[in-house]
C-alpha cells in the first residue's frame, strides 16, 4: 500500500449529463448530438449520457471510459482513485515509428489519462468494492507494466480491507512496446488473483467491447463470475487473425458476448443500466455466508 494512496482525499464530482436536473437541459448548446453508429438514430448527447451511453433505439452500448463507469457504478458517483499517478516506464527503450516515451507523453496529453487502467474504491449499493476499469483510448487499452501494477495494488487493497474486486476489461491485448514485460503482466495479475481467492473475496470480471488477446487469456476470464455487456467482442485471437487462419468467412455473431455465453465462458450478459444493481446483488450474495463464518 503506497503512502500516497492513503493520503488521497475522497472527491466527488457530479457529472453533467448523468445527474443534471431536467430544467437545466434547455441550456444545452445546440449541436451536441449523438448519432448511433449501429442504427444511425440521433439523440441529444445529454440524453445519451443519461441513458448510460446506450442507444435507446437499438441498445447499442457505446464505448465509455473509466470515469464514466465509476460514475455509473459507485454510489452517488463518489469514489477514491487508487495509485492514480503511476505512469509507464520504457523497459526496452522501444522505438517503432515513434519513440515509446514520446507516444506515451502524447497519449497522456491527448486523453488526460495516465495509462490504460484506472483503479478506484467506493461503494456499490452500500457494498465496499474496488473497480479496476480499462480505458480503450489509451493505446487501445493495451496491457503493459502499469496495468499489471495497478491491478496488483488494487488486489492488495482489497485483501487488506476485505473488499470485493471488479475489473472492467476493454483491451486489444498486450502492449507490444513493452515486449515480454507486457506478457508477464498476464502472469502477475493471475498470481495476485490467487491471493484474492485465498482471502475468499469475490472477483467479478466484466468484459466489454472489445476484450481480446492477453487480457482475455488472463484476468478477464478468471472471474468468480464472468459478466459481459451485450454484443461485446470477446476472444483470444482477433477476428481478422481467425479469418486468415481458417481462410473462410466467420459465422454471424462469432466472438460476440452472446456467442461466448453460448459456448460456456460467460455467466451472464447484463445491460449497462442494470449493471450496478446486479453487481450489488452478486457481492451481497457471494459474501453473506463468508462473513457469517468469519464472525
Amino acid at each position: 500500500m503506497s503512502v500516497q494512496e492513503e493520503e488521497m482525499s475522497w472527491f466527488k464530482r457530479i457529472r453533467k449529463g448523468i445527474l443534471t436536473e431536467t430544467e437545466d437541459k434547455k441550456e444545452t448548446p445546440e449541436g451536441l448530438w449523438y448519432k448511433c453508429p449501429s442504427c444511425k438514430n440521433i439523440i441529444r448527447s445529454e440524453e445519451h449520457a443519461e441513458n448510460y451511453y446506450v442507444c435507446p433505439n437499438c441498445q447499442h452500448h457505446d464505448r465509455i471510459g473509466s470515469e464514466e463507469y465509476f460514475h455509473i457504478l459507485f454510489d452517488q458517483g463518489k469514489y477514491r482513485l487508487l495509485n492514480p499517478n503511476i505512469t509507464s516506464g520504457d523497459p526496452l527503450n522501444f522505438t517503432d515509428t515513434k519513440k515509446y516515451t514520446d507516444r506515451i507523453r502524447s497519449v497522456i496529453a491527448n486523453t488526460g489519462l495516465k495509462d490504460a487502467i484506472e483503479t478506484a474504491a467506493g461503494r456499490i449499493d452500500g457494498h465496499e468494492a474496488v473497480i479496476a476499469c480499462m480505458d480503450f483510448d489509451f493505446i487501445g487499452g493495451s496491457m503493459g507494466s502499469v496495468v499489471g501494477e495497478k491491478i496488483a495494488r488494487a488486489i492488495d487493497h482489497c485483501i487488506k480491507y476485505k473488499k470485493a474486486f471488479i475489473i472492467i476489461s476493454k483491451s486489444g491485448g498486450a502492449r507490444m512496446m513493452e515486449g515480454a514485460f507486457s506478457l508477464m503482466q498476464m502472469a502477475k495479475t493471475s498470481a495476485k488473483l490467487t491471493q484474492l481467492s485465498d482471502a475468499q473475496l469475490p472477483y467479478i470480471s466484466i468484459l466489454t467491447n472489445p476484450t481480446t488477446g492477453g487480457v482475455t487469456a488472463s484476468f478477464a476470464m478468471l472471474g468468480d463470475l464472468n459478466i459481459a455487456e451485450p454484443k461485446a467482442l470477446i476472444g483470444f485471437a482477433g477476428p481478422r487473425v481467425v479469418k486468415e487462419t481458417i481462410k473462410k468467412d466467420l459465422p454471424e455473431g462469432f466472438q460476440t458476448a452472446e456467442f461466448v455465453l453460448e459456448t460456456g465462458f460467460l455467466d451472464k450478459i447484463i445491460h449497462r443500466k442494470d449493471m450496478k444493481h446486479q453487481l450489488a446483488f452478486f457481492i451481497d450474495t457471494l459474501t453473506q455466508n463468508v462473513k457469517k463464518t468469519k464472525k
Binding site: 515480454a180 514485460f181 508477464m184 502477475k188 487462419t245
Partner: protein
C-alpha cells in the same frame, strides 16, 4: 543438414570437406592433413558466426528444423523411461501438446511441452506446435496429477503461438491459457520451465509459469513474433530484423531484464549441431534446479513464485 542463410560459409566448407573425403575413398590419396585443416577452419568459422548473431538470426536458429524437439528432450533426459499420456478428459487429445511420466536419474518427473513435428507430414499432425484449448487443459490435468503425487513438473516450451482457429475460440482458448497460468501459481510441487525453441506469447506462458524459467541460448521469448510485430507496428513484413532487436527477445536480453532465471548454453554452432550435448546441458540445469527447489517448503515455493512474477514490470511511481 539444413543451413540458414548466414551459415552459407559453413555450408561451403562442409561441402569442400565432403569432396576431400570422397577423393580419399575413390583414389586412395591421403588427404588426412587437409581434412584436419578443413575441420579446424569449419569450427573457427562456426564460432565466428555464432559469436555475433543478431537477434533475428537467433530467432532463425530457434526455428532450425534440425534442432531437437520436445519429445526428443523428454526421451533423452529420462533415458527413454518417458511414457506419454494422452487426452484432456473432455474433448480430445491435442497432438501439439505432449506430456507424460518419466524418471530422471531414477527420480519421478512429469514432462509437458509443445511438440512441433519433425518433418512436413508430422508438422501437420502436430499443428506446428500450436496447441488448441484442449492441449492446455491436458497440460493442466497432468500438472495436477503430478501435484497430487508430489512429482515435480518440467515444461518444455517450443511454440509459434496458441492456435488462433475458429474452434479454438469456441472452446475457449483465452480461458484455457488463463486457467493454466492461474493454476500454475497454486501447484505445490516444483515447476521448471525450459524454452527450447520458440516462446511465443500467451501460447508459451500457458505452460510457462515456473519456480525456475530457463532459456536455451539461441531461443526467443516475447509477447509477439518479430514478423507480426513488424506487420503491426511498422506496417510492413520487412522490418522483422528491426522488430527482433526492439523486442529484446533473446535469452541474454531476457536474463538482463530479470524476466527469466537463467540461460542454458548451447553447443558451439547451436543445438542442432550436437543433440547429445544439448540434452546434457538441459539435464544438468534441470537437476540442479530441482535439487535447490526441493529444499523449500511448498508454501515457501509458491510465495517465491508469486513474488518473482509480481516484481516484473517497469513504471514510474
Amino acid at each position: 543438414m539444413v543451413y540458414l542463410d548466414f551459415e552459407e560459409p559453413i555450408k561451403l566448407l562442409e561441402e569442400q570437406l565432403e569432396k576431400t573425403r570422397e577423393i580419399t575413398e575413390t583414389s586412395g590419396v591421403d588427404t588426412s592433413k587437409s581434412v584436419k585443416e578443413l575441420e579446424k577452419t569449419i569450427a573457427k568459422t562456426r564460432k565466428d558466426i555464432y559469436s555475433k548473431l543478431s537477434a533475428w538470426q537467433k530467432v532463425q536458429v530457434s526455428r532450425h528444423p534440425d534442432r531437437p524437439y520436445v519429445l526428443a528432450y523428454m526421451n533423452a533426459l529420462s533415458d527413454n523411461t518417458f511414457v506419454e499420456l494422452h487426452g484432456d478428459r473432455n474433448v480430445k487429445d491435442d497432438k501439439a501438446m505432449v506430456g507424460g511420466l518419466a524418471k530422471m536419474d531414477g527420480k519421478p518427473v512429469m514432462f509437458i511441452g509443445q511438440q512441433k513435428g519433425i518433418n512436413a507430414k508430422m508438422r501437420l499432425y502436430r499443428n506446428f506446435g500450436m496447441a488448441n484449448p484442449e492441449g492446455y487443459r491436458k497440460a493442466l490435468r497432468l500438472m495436477q496429477t503430478a501435484d497430487k503425487f508430489n512429482i515435480p513438473i518440467v515444461c518444455f516450451v517450443d511454440t509459434p503461438g496458441a492456435y488462433p482457429g475458429l474452434e479454438a475460440e469456441e472452446r475457449g482458448q483465452g480461458e484455457a491459457i488463463a486457467r493454466n497460468i492461474y493454476e500454475m501459481f497454486r501447484i505445490k510441487v516444483p515447476i521448471i520451465v525450459v524454452i527450447i525453441g520458440e516462446g511465443a506469447s500467451g501460447g508459451a506462458l500457458g505452460i510457462g509459469v515456473g519456480d525456475r524459467v530457463f532459456m536455451l541460448e539461441y531461443t526467443w521469448y516475447s509477447v509477439i513474433s518479430p514478423e507480426s510485430c513488424s506487420s503491426i507496428l511498422f506496417r510492413t513484413w520487412d522490418e522483422k530484423e528491426r522488430a527482433a532487436e526492439a523486442l529484446k527477445l533473446t535469452s541474454d536480453d531476457m536474463l538482463n531484464n530479470k524476466l527469466i532465471d537463467g540461460v542454458i548454453r548451447e553447443p558451439e554452432g547451436g543445438a542442432h549441431t550436437n543433440h547429445e550435448e544439448s540434452y546434457a546441458n538441459v539435464k544438468d540445469a534441470v537437476l540442479k534446479a530441482l535439487a535447490e527447489l526441493e529444499k523449500l517448503k511448498p508454501e515457501k515455493r509458491i510465495a517465491l513464485r508469486i513474488g518473482k512474477f509480481e516484481k516484473m514490470g517497469v513504471f514510474n511511481d
